[in-house]
Symmetry: C2
Amino acid sequence: MTVRVGVIGGGQLARMMIAPAVELGLELRVLAEDEGMSAQLAATAVGDYRDLETVRSFVRDVDVVTFDHEHVPQEVLRALVADGVQVHPGPDALQFAQDKLVMRARLAELGVPQPDWAPVHDEGELQRFIDEHGGGAVVKTPRGGYDGKGVRVVRAGADAADWFDAAGEGEALLAEELVSFTRELAQQVARRPSGQIVAYPVVETVQRDGVCAEVIAPAPDAHDRLVQVAEQIGRRIAEGIGVTGMLAVELFETDDERILVNELAMRPHNSGHWSQDGSVTGQFEQHLRAVADLPLGATEPRSPWTVMVNILGGPAEGALEDRFARAMAEHPEAKVHTYGKSPRPGRKVGHVNVSGDDLDDAVYTARAAADHFL
Amino acid sequence: MTVRVGVIGGGQLARMMIAPAVELGLELRVLAEDEGMSAQLAATAVGDYRDLETVRSFVRDVDVVTFDHEHVPQEVLRALVADGVQVHPGPDALQFAQDKLVMRARLAELGVPQPDWAPVHDEGELQRFIDEHGGGAVVKTPRGGYDGKGVRVVRAGADAADWFDAAGEGEALLAEELVSFTRELAQQVARRPSGQIVAYPVVETVQRDGVCAEVIAPAPDAHDRLVQVAEQIGRRIAEGIGVTGMLAVELFETDDERILVNELAMRPHNSGHWSQDGSVTGQFEQHLRAVADLPLGATEPRSPWTVMVNILGGPAEGALEDRFARAMAEHPEAKVHTYGKSPRPGRKVGHVNVSGDDLDDAVYTARAAADHFL
């Protein structure tokens, strides 16, 4: 029988599951937040994912539930599990993507390398953490942050005064050491409910203003030890917290050649968009295979290099689509992926993948093609 | 503005346009023959494509019309064009895919190499053609044939008696010489309304019982002259008959190293399914780019070899989907594409693409993966 996969959230990640679902013969159903969202074509319901009855009604006609984002409340997730619904990733795993303090504590238990960290409840605690860590720290709100939101570099406890004021009684912020890193990397793995895991090659990610701007796959100048350690970290986390579906582990590579875990995402991730065109199995196909508990696909690159460049913001005037003709004419080898969103400053509205034998050429072409959309 | 592409026909070719349409940000609308067809996800209307008012109503909300098949009557097509609708390919081109006698006459005018042929109106004319061509011929009904239907090898005029009886007053059958060929090839090109043409590498096709069974891309042992001649034939036909969208030219390679045109198809074609995974630009994306008059994409192979094997018939018992797990487990590098059809003997219900550096390995893996679905 046709497996029906329900996706909660109608953003671009749900949208990019449509293509592989069609080819695999899976029926995709999406609970979108609004009309006209990115995944509109597969939207079978519109409603609030925080409302249990809305979600219950949506999942009635699906065989497995997965996500476009990590914001579905634990109460809703646990009620679905209690109803007997297949939820991947499940609430026990998703909590580590929903709360960064819980994540840090669990990674510590798993022995995974990460920056020094501590929960801080007030300015005084934060000031002590800063004093003990060279005069600076990164402060994060444990919940709800993404794309650089909820993350701040501070030099004094008072720099986070507004966040402490906004925090509830007894709630802590997360303080992390300011890591001196040479670059950022990302490791993706996919894990099935039955336990099979596959790993993608570790990639280099370039962030601008806290938002992923470019990805190079595989990471250049990655010696064997780096590749192995990154993969081991990905596998250890996926198994240790019982992820099902795609897991992205954002990593720092430090001056002294250590690899430290920065963030986790339990869904297809911007750092894996390259795989749509650059890997034998794209991450959206892999996520669907994993959550449907189908055997996982090969993760080998199709080309020596694939470069992904995000289209951030889109044109100041006119429609994104009107930019296609020139970009395509000048770069026939560029693969453009659009999200069906109206451009607005800083918004991710699409991305470009370019594969090739020469890294410099691929970087140049991907950037040049993406620039046509701005 | 989002370009809306209307596809007449809801079969697997329309279905496989869904994935690239989503990524390109084109809105796909399908006029399906029935409920529950392959392209169901994008079906916005159900009705008879031979009925002008049904088609007129469907095309009202699209910017360009294209096709899943070549069976829309000329009267309907010409009425749309008279209404000012963008139709690609247009009726002037499509007539050559709809009537093989008209096609043969036009190819002769274009000087394209093809088998000897003649219109034959009765058994006597056919017998004379046979006598002049070594005692055998291929007889074809000019209209409505596909996948080996409407094609018959004959040794005597009387062998086509039933078809002459069924033909209308004054209607001829097409007689062609029995070509002694070593293998069959296919050349695809895409052409935009504005005239840009790109060519894919020529591929080898293996037919069984008149149905495409396997494709190897590029064609093995294809020396430069063969590659060039095939591409020139494809370009000449596309320009000569004004094709817009994808054109597939089925070719015979003869004992004496000639290339002769067998059949034409003006749409994505089974011989091009390899390109979904094996080329920088898959044929379904290319067709959409061409009919929307967007610049065409690069046609380079992503791998030295890609092998496509059709899934013909599907399992005698149970659902196709139930065969996925073993095929995927044993062949993680195989790309399976399903058409959402119920299996029935000889019916095309999906295909498998496998790419790699070694042709024998790719052939073995693609066949082995496809076998799991039978």
